[in-house]
């Protein structure tokens, strides 16, 4: 009850941080097209204003919100380097960055595990080409793809493809989802060797540069998400922020 928006843009209505060369603005995403990004209730932070570093500004904004300087602000698409939900910059006080997902272990970026996973990764480009944003991509290592094919061949799955996604989990964070599934409307479907990968558009934003790995054997960790963008988890240990 109460939805008055009519749009399929997954960022519509979401408070975002728009990164540009020398500044960052925070506002509620209202509209995006090939020419502009239109934000509502917008604050802006110029790097040369001398107030605080950009990272500190974003951390504070993510924790408390912003005081809007502009009711509306239209940003030329060509000036936009990146758009991320403001919540992705949220860090609970005192928490360290170590994603640990319930049911799925996750190595820290930069560790041997993640480096190995990256080394033989098969990049899956996700077709979320909104002008001015960074294109999303998710990776499957050869080992992960092989294990998916093995499980599909075992024939006890809910659908013909592998669904990767994120869901809200924990204290304002995100949780990875990995399941076999039927395709759904608006899915991004990426053909793999022997199976399809399905991603809903909203999840693809958070799965950018994530690598799905698989480690079998007695000492293996099973399926494992390696997220170079993950910065922290919430206290419950089930969620992450990117």
């Amino acid at each position: 009850m109460g939805t008055f928006h009519d749009t399929s843009d997954p960022l519509h209505g979401i408070t975002v941080a728009v990164t540009m060369n020398d500044s960052v603005v925070v506002g509620r995403c209202h509209e995006r097209d090939s020419e502009k990004v239109l934000l509502l209730d917008v604050d802006e932070h110029a790097d040369d204003a001398g107030e605080m570093p950009r990272s500190e500004y974003l951390a504070r904004a993510a924790r408390f919100g912003v005081w809007a300087k502009h009711e509306r602000l239209s940003i030329p698409a060509g000036e936009v380097l990146e758009i991320q939900p403001l919540s992705s910059y949220y860090t609970r006080p005192g928490e360290a960055a170590q994603p640990e997902i319930a049911g799925v272990s996750q190595s820290k970026p930069g560790t041997e595990d993640s480096a190995q996973a990256k080394s033989d990764a098969v990049t899956v480009e996700i077709a979320t080409e909104v002008p001015g944003t960074v294109q999303s991509a998710v990776n499957l290592t050869a080992a992960a793809a092989q294990e998916v094919r093995r499980l599909i061949a075992a024939g006890e799955n809910e659908g013909p493809g592998l669904r990767l996604g994120v869901a809200g989990g924990g204290c304002s964070g995100l949780t990875y989802k990995l399941e076999f599934s039927e395709p759904r409307d608006n899915d991004v479907v990426v053909a793999q060797d022997g199976f399809d990968v399905y991603l809903d558009p909203k999840s693809s934003i958070y799965l950018r540069d994530v690598t799905l790995d698989y480690q079998g054997g007695l000492g293996g960790k099973g399926f494992q998400f390696n997220n170079p963008n993950a910065t922290n988890t919430c206290g419950c240990g089930e969620s992450f922020a990117v």
Binding site: M1, F4, V66, P85, S87, A167, S172, C236
Partner: protein
């Protein structure tokens, strides 16, 4: 400009029917916050389905948790303008945000869940966030 009352009435009722006190005037806000003892929750309601559409059922679910605030109230941003403005004064230096949830203990703001941490989340996730705060501050 406020939406027609008949459109927002169900959004009010969704909370009041589970016992959340609706504050429609500054005086009602003042009376609610005059009581300093114990824990008090304030949900700043909104017509935005992207966020408030999940925040309301989340609060309803959270209020069934074992630990919960002694009192729960709501103001409706964009509808009851003066009451909302007065309530935001109570929330203090935190920027205006709707929907949002503020939790007070003995008159002090101890937890705040702004809109950008609500939007896009399921009611279940928001409820977990709220109950975690209840467990921390309402026992």
């Amino acid at each position: 400009m406020p939406y027609p009352e008949q459109m927002v009435a169900p959004m009010r009722a969704e909370l009041t029917e589970v016992g959340v006190q609706e504050l429609r005037t500054p005086d009602e806000v003042d009376r609610y916050f005059a009581r300093k003892e114990g824990t008090s929750l304030l949900l700043v309601n909104s017509v935005c389905g992207c966020a408030a559409g999940s925040a309301r059922p989340a609060l309803k679910a959270a209020l069934e948790h074992d630990s919960r605030p002694d009192h729960a109230a709501t103001v409706f941003a964009g509808q009851d303008l003066e009451a909302t403005e007065r309530a935001r004064e109570m929330i203090g230096p935190v920027p205006p945000s709707s929907p949002s949830v503020a939790l007070f203990r003995d008159g002090e703001l101890v937890h705040f869940l702004p809109r950008h941490l609500i939007e896009g989340q399921s009611a279940e996730v928001i409820a977990r966030e709220l109950t975690a705060a209840f467990d921390e501050f309402c026992n």
